[in-house]
């Protein structure tokens, strides 16, 4: 693998990206689901970004013009929200700014899958989902990959992720016990996080918001890997202090707010797997 990948896809690079994020305080527009809004906003604030929730078609594009990144999450979608998404995405594309797609629940209903396929074709910088969502989206997009099974591990979705990345041009992240990130060629595995995280709602959605913030200061592959490492390290730190899920959002925010290079190194790992058989 290239010297460059080793340098830019590393824990040191992740921390440097966080420092850049804190210095620029990017404005991140979120058109996200009702459950994810508060935790997404608070995660962005704890990271050092500036969140905004602006979804209406009447203003979503105008707001996108002043945003540094856009995060689109279809968790609780409905037609007027989808129209707001389309317009904001259109403006980001026009201006060459990054946007992130979180295809929540793709595969669960025809409506949801159809919208996910439509949006995935609109040039997201990054698509982040769990194994089932990514496999469903890859299959429905005609990019290939296997069918959906709710017990799919993130490992099983790697083929689908690579196919989806090649088909859409997006960096694709499959999150689970180990997170995988690929641009269709390079494949990166990131560890971190904590077993309590799936027991607290919308922490995956807030990770997508985090990816958006990093995408405003780094290219998509590097941004996504950095976001996974920083968030995973903060999650590991937070979870280690707890025995139940109740205080996890608050502890995660505190961990993100105070995180430094040493904490990232202690709690996360990045391994570049490009070209290796996995």
């Amino acid at each position: 693998m290239s010297q460059k990948a080793e340098e830019t896809l590393s824990l040191d690079a992740a921390f440097a990206a966080l420092v850049a994020l804190r210095a620029t305080r990017p404005l991140v527009q979120n058109i996200t689901n009702y459950v994810a809004m508060t935790i997404s906003a608070n995660v962005l604030l704890a990271l050092g970004a500036s969140p905004a929730m602006v979804h209406a078609p009447e203003e979503s594009a105008e707001f996108a013009a002043i945003s540094n990144a856009l995060v689109v999450n279809i968790g609780t979608l409905s037609p007027p929200w989808v129209e707001g998404m389309r317009r904001a995405i259109g403006k980001m594309r026009e201006l060459g700014k990054p946007w992130v797609l979180d295809p929540v629940g793709c595969g669960a209903t025809a409506y949801r899958t159809g919208i996910a396929v439509e949006l995935a074709a609109l040039g997201p910088a990054v698509i982040r989902g769990n194994a089932s969502e990514i496999m469903s989206l890859a299959g429905a997009s005609g990019a290939g990959g296997k069918g959906v099974d709710s017990t799919d591990s993130s490992d099983a979705a790697l083929d689908a992720a690579r196919a989806l990345a090649r088909d859409t041009g997006a960096v694709v992240a499959v999150t689970g016990e180990t997170d995988y990130v690929t641009d269709g060629t390079t494949l990166v595995a990131i560890t971190g996080g904590h077993a309590l995280m799936p027991l607290s709602t919308a922490l995956g959605c807030a990770l997508s918001a985090t990816v958006g913030a990093f995408a405003s200061v780094r290219p998509p592959l590097e941004a996504t890997v950095a976001a996974m490492a920083v968030y995973g390290a903060a999650g590991a730190e937070a979870g280690a202090r707890l025995t139940g899920p109740g205080h996890l959002p608050a502890e995660l925010l505190d961990a993100l707010h105070g995180i430094d290079a040493a904490a990232i190194a202690r709690n996360a790992s990045i391994r570049v797997l490009a070209g290796e058989a996995v």
Copy 2:
């Protein structure tokens, strides 16, 4: 009272129902109000269920087809959401799966009361509300019961609850300092909870979500009594650790996540009052 009621409406039965819930990890669809979404999702996760928030008419019925239970809460209703409720309910009825109605604020406006009456006639397995809501719904449904008074205690709503249960075929729960559950014949009183609970928003709504999860593994009367006992015990445990309401949601989640038979026995009681004068 029957031997059967003593066995199935007991703290032991409540814990057995929780064990069954954790084993089956039911998918609970919620069409609920904006304030209740996050805490409902987190309560369901802490219990061991799998929450989903899917409300749009374009997909609510298709999603209901894969859900194990549906919870409909009218707290922040509007016409497109009501249409989503109708379609999801229709699918649950068609497939013989349970759904729970939480008639938040019934009696406060004509629109709200009308929707509550309409939905109550669509065969909910359980209706859960506070005394005023149940009395208002019973009155507006023509089932009988007295007028609304915001100072009504749950005791005062017992006649309305029984009338509403007989009229709709639903199990009706009236929650307050003591919770009452009736199918129109059997009447059960459950204690538990904590004085801080009414100071934390949407904990009643999250209880309705809990009833939905239990209704996927037990018949309605037994499910509702079990949900009240488990939730009440967790609330009592959580409240006892606090002096203010701020951390109550987090502590409630931790209590639900870790609850066992001994904690239920220590913090809740179930008394079957069928046929007794109350």
Copy 3:
């Protein structure tokens, strides 16, 4: 300055207003953004008020008829919500009851600014925003004031606040490190709060909800000053116990729930600046 101002715009008066609020338990209707709903409801409960979130045009006016105060926040606005706002506001005006406007993000898009200008002309008792929002609203309303700059401090917005107050007849509050409140003549500076507060989403929105609760028991100027002092004192208390933003909402709720005259005196200050050059 008058003897009366010294008496009614003081920490003692703020605590007396809180006592009155707790005694009357006002019903505060909120038509607010999705992010602010839960924390607004919990802040109102912790204060001793009774919150309700009722936004649909089908019922917002009927509900306003039974509310003691209304809070309108345009954070995540869309046309049906704006229609619900208009109808609720119309009913409050008809019945002579107070309503509060929080012009979130005014100036960011033409749609948002237009709605803020429209609503500001409908007789709010109080308008509360940050420096940029107040300056933008004053400018767009033709009331005068400078252009928008995201780095505007609350001090820089004082001219705009006074102009807006004179133009609309509302009390105008500009919140920041120091909060300023004016009715166009009297100007009051309130200190309190904590540096962590801007890192936790929607705490400004929840302050607007707090102003609404106080406006149901005191005239607008006195109510707004009291709300700022009580909320600022609670925020200062809460922040002092923390090193990160994660638990701030919970600690703020506990501080509001337990606050007394001594805690207000320790953690906030009120200075009446009427007629002084500022």
